[in-house]
Symmetry: C2
Amino acid sequence: MMKIRMEDGAGGEGMAKFLESYVLRLLSKRRAGEIGLDELDDGASVRDFIFTVDGHTVRPLIFPGGDIGRLSVSGTVNDLAVMGAKPLALSSSMIIEAGFEGELLERILRSMDDTMREAGVPIVCGDTKVVEEKIGLFVTTSGIGEGNGALMRNIEVIREYRDYPHRFIVDRGLGEGDLIIVSGTVADHGMAILSLRKGIEFESGIESDVAPLWGMIEQAMACGGITAMKDPTRGGLSNALNELARKSGVGIEIDEERIPVKREVLAASEMLGLNFLDMASEGRVVMGVVREYAEEVLRALRRSRYGKDAEIIGEVRGESGEVIMRTRVGGRRVIRPPIGDPVPRVC
Amino acid sequence: MMKIRMEDGAGGEGMAKFLESYVLRLLSKRRAGEIGLDELDDGASVRDFIFTVDGHTVRPLIFPGGDIGRLSVSGTVNDLAVMGAKPLALSSSMIIEAGFEGELLERILRSMDDTMREAGVPIVCGDTKVVEEKIGLFVTTSGIGEGNGALMRNIEVIREYRDYPHRFIVDRGLGEGDLIIVSGTVADHGMAILSLRKGIEFESGIESDVAPLWGMIEQAMACGGITAMKDPTRGGLSNALNELARKSGVGIEIDEERIPVKREVLAASEMLGLNFLDMASEGRVVMGVVREYAEEVLRALRRSRYGKDAEIIGEVRGESGEVIMRTRVGGRRVIRPPIGDPVPRVC
């Protein structure tokens, strides 16, 4: 008899298979608009809105650069933002272990509040359950986002170059010749969590990148031409690029030497025998941009607080559905999506 | 140092205090429209929509008359419905224990699907996390509902009688003279869960009432005059009536002998020394109705599958903010909201 495994909830190919064999197979009503459950995009469309949800079970609750409060608000804000939707309202459902320290809960709620104020979005409804199991705290956030001026401008620009029959920015939106941009160094979040667990956080000095990205993305969209976006969370850049390539039916080629990664993150991942391309970021976005607008979008990203290390890392070429990395030494390597994130309980 | 207690998440007064001292105090952005977090209503308003969320941690996962799948879909459908909103789309976020039986998950997902089809509402987005802690399965559902013809007709009727400045049906909507209706027998769900835990479910024959109520509520609203609604879940009828009375600034008087309750539920609660008025239902609604329309609403409820035992149980009188029960023997007793639901982990 099949049992649920850790990798079934760790992003990557394991989760994709889990979703196909359980959720998509067993639920018969899966959409209310253009984008539903089948698209496995960052959110779904409902009337003129985007609706999204994420459960957060990160361990530990507080980590270098953030905590489960900042993570849960940022995660939902970013899932809306990468579809081009302006975050309007969030919900928060907390499941708390009986005996949990009130002081720690207060610290986490203050961090949620700071992040909400930074992102300009309220929590309008919520729920609380207290359980005996030794879980610490789980926080599930859902959110509603709406169309906006920057999104409309962005789509108008795309339509000067090709058909774009979507009202939001979708994973399957990439087209031939688009350039691929990543908004900053990758894998910081995953490595910050892992360093802490391995007891090397002080030597490494690595902090999570967790941040709410709506402001940055709004400014980038105002330039125009962003055809697809994802936040490279569970499964990292490998998973995000593979999802975009597969859903869009295109090939993506990236240059190893152009991928922004902190020296210490690269060193730590090599020391631990892990591929930083598979590791989560929580304050980054990877996007395809109509070639003619890529430089302008890049400049807009670099002007923003969370986008100063943005780089063009590659382009869309052909229809292979695969991701190819041109290595530093001149080789070509297929980048596969990982089975699951190499860091369990990363978000 | 304060620690979080079971009663902080069990509905009732304990949870109300927890929400005031943590959530409402620490979060500074709490609304996107007329109804926000402060109202502690069944959902919040966002543009022309209602947004709601609930986490489900019920034990056991399968119980007489239902399971966590039917419960989670019904819970969110009903939170939308009691505000008069037609359910448009749900999200589902599952946190699953590693090693959970795939067959059991399949059974629960099939039950979610049955309930979604019954309610006519899709799950459009979701998330899955797998954890090592021995939790079984937690399901958090959120939902979006919208204004509709029955709601508009309902509010038009109220406005023939008095001011009703709300666009949805709100907890604070009760007015002098309204009659109080409950749509069926109370406490079935709580007692079904408790009987199972006490090992007396076969003798008791009690089944949960868990059901999605949009269809029934739509037909009742089409008659008109429903001024406030709640589903009496955690904390039961005591808690629901007290919330309505306090928020509306009115007194509620109910007649003990008119409260529908199954003989076996009453017997089991007396045997266990519990007050059935404090125990959860998951397929019932309690409502205030403009007196002139109460009989018509009652008939509409009784025509519906889940409303055949509906009764008028009392009326709104005065401004005490309290709930008074006229007892079978001619006395008057104040009904206080419980500190928490007498059945832990009831939903």
